[in-house]
Symmetry: C2
Subunit: 302 residues, 2 copies
């Protein structure tokens, strides 16, 4: 039985003050059983993006502790930055990695959301797979108007469209609003094409992306890669179980063929779940009954 | 920087006495930092096969401790079993898994071999990548004659062809001889073909295996799978860096095509290193600059 592993990627509205940044990351690291994958502070965005792994209970504990600390350190009344934001702890996504279902991550989001609402007095919105209403599925909709806009709407009509899923119907003095969600890990996957004609990359992107009738859970755009003299179909796979990497690759390859263009190479940007890789090997090798726990290294996590 | 992980797969000449089997496995498990992947005792073979992982120092400590205990528990003068064997601890292979070179595993084999020779008084033969002479590369050559035959040759001429790489030139009273090696992990990989004609599987096996001029580090045989009404090319890939899984698969597929036969499916039997899987994804997706440490789960091992 594989250990249950959840990833959490909280974002905080502080990207300049190194002491505060360090304190928040240290708060997460101090929870036993937590592995911090990365912490990235951006001064222009004035935002801190932390990624960490652990078993569900530890991940929950760390998320609440970091949110609590951020509510003391960050004042949304004074916060400015280029990135859209609505709270000191802006978002807390829970992501199933191993031995965990999306339903369990939705439960985590509810547990943490309720605790933040009840104990810290911060209004909480649940979004993506944790959304309790379709209008809150997309984070962009939830965060529309950002801190200042949401505040005005919320104060005008606390039980209206901005009524939180958890927490009070009164403002927290400084911490703003926090979005909590459950979602699949995002796989950033690009395919490079042997042409300088960006219109082909754009046409292929349009053909493969969900928005325009293509593959489920695929976002795609076409770009020029000037330094290489080629073009790129840049994709975000928001659910690698719905549309696996190999399916996106084969779709781009087939579309490229229609244009008489060769696929040069592809790239996975950043992290990828083991399952997404083993599904790829599985597909091309036509593997029978292969399980991720046949991977030697996976056994070290149990 | 990835943590250094070595696999060790010692084999002991005891497959019947559960108390002794448990004691040897417990001895390995008792070393801090060791993860036992499997322990398989076979009564007919009268042999125990243990597989465990850890950092180099821990793996070394566990190998020596288990060998020491086995030398007390197992008497080769009384041992019988179907599997070829030469010692209480028959073989100790060290296998690089992550962040470790073959050269480092050869060093481990030498360290442990020397310690077994010096401290336990057991003659040690180094084989495979750890062999100090070509005649000891193959375990089958080293173990030829088994315990009884090697003992006679050794006692007749202790400084002759049976002179150990480490340890005394006199017999240990009961523990026999121990082979210590460094080798790559073995990937057991089968490809099933849509025909009942086993001569095709045999011909393909012959075409792809190293022995008959095929792919490096590939052993292959052709079999009938009666219950499925098909045939199988069953392969052992003894070095997945020399001949990766995808290369073996594509070679079998190409040979099958010559015979007008379809590949139905393939299977990986048992464990496989993450690198072997990610190399497969890499090949088919033409991945640029992909590293195994982009796999989320791999970060939990560091």
């Amino acid at each position: 039985m594989a250990k249950k592993i959840v990833e959490c990627v909280p974002n905080f509205s502080e990207g300049k003050d190194q002491k505060k940044i360090d304190a928040i990351v240290a708060e997460i690291k101090s929870v036993p059983g937590i592995t911090v994958l990365s912490s990235l502070a951006d001064a222009d965005h004035n935002r801190l993006d932390v990624s960490y792994l652990g078993e569900p209970e530890a991940v929950k504990t760390a998320a609440f502790a970091a949110c609590k600390l951020a509510s003391k350190l960050i004042d949304m009344e004074k916060h400015h930055g280029q990135h859209p934001r609505m709270g000191a702890t802006d978002v807390i996504p829970f992501i199933p990695i191993q031995g965990v279902t999306m339903a369990e991550c939705v439960e985590l989001a509810n547990d943490v959301g309720q605790k933040i609402g009840d104990e810290l007095g911060i209004p909480v919105y649940l979004y993506e797979s944790a959304a309790k209403t379709p209008s809150r599925t997309n984070l962009a909709d939830v965060r529309r108007g950002e801190y200042e806009g949401i505040k005005t709407e919320f104060q005008t009509n606390p039980n209206g469209p901005r009524k939180p899923d958890y927490g009070p119907t009164t403002m927290h003095p400084s911490a703003g609003f926090t979005g909590v969600c459950a979602r699949m890990p995002l796989v950033a996957f690009n395919v490079n094409l042997a042409t300088t004609d960006v219109s082909i990359a754009k046409a292929i992107a349009k053909a493969v992306r969900e928005k325009d009738g293509g593959l489920k859970c695929v976002k795609a755009m076409g770009f020029v890669i000037k330094e290489k003299g080629i073009v790129q179909v840049s994709m975000n796979l928001t659910n690698y179980l719905e549309t696996p990497i190999f399916k996106a690759f084969e779709a781009v390859k087939a579309e490229a063929q229609k244009h008489g263009v060769q696929v040069i190479e592809s790239e996975i940007i950043g992290m990828v779940p083991l399952q997404a890789l083993s599904d790829t090997a599985d597909f091309y090798l036509r593997l029978e009954k292969f399980k991720s726990d046949q991977v030697i290294e996976a056994r070290l996590i149990e």
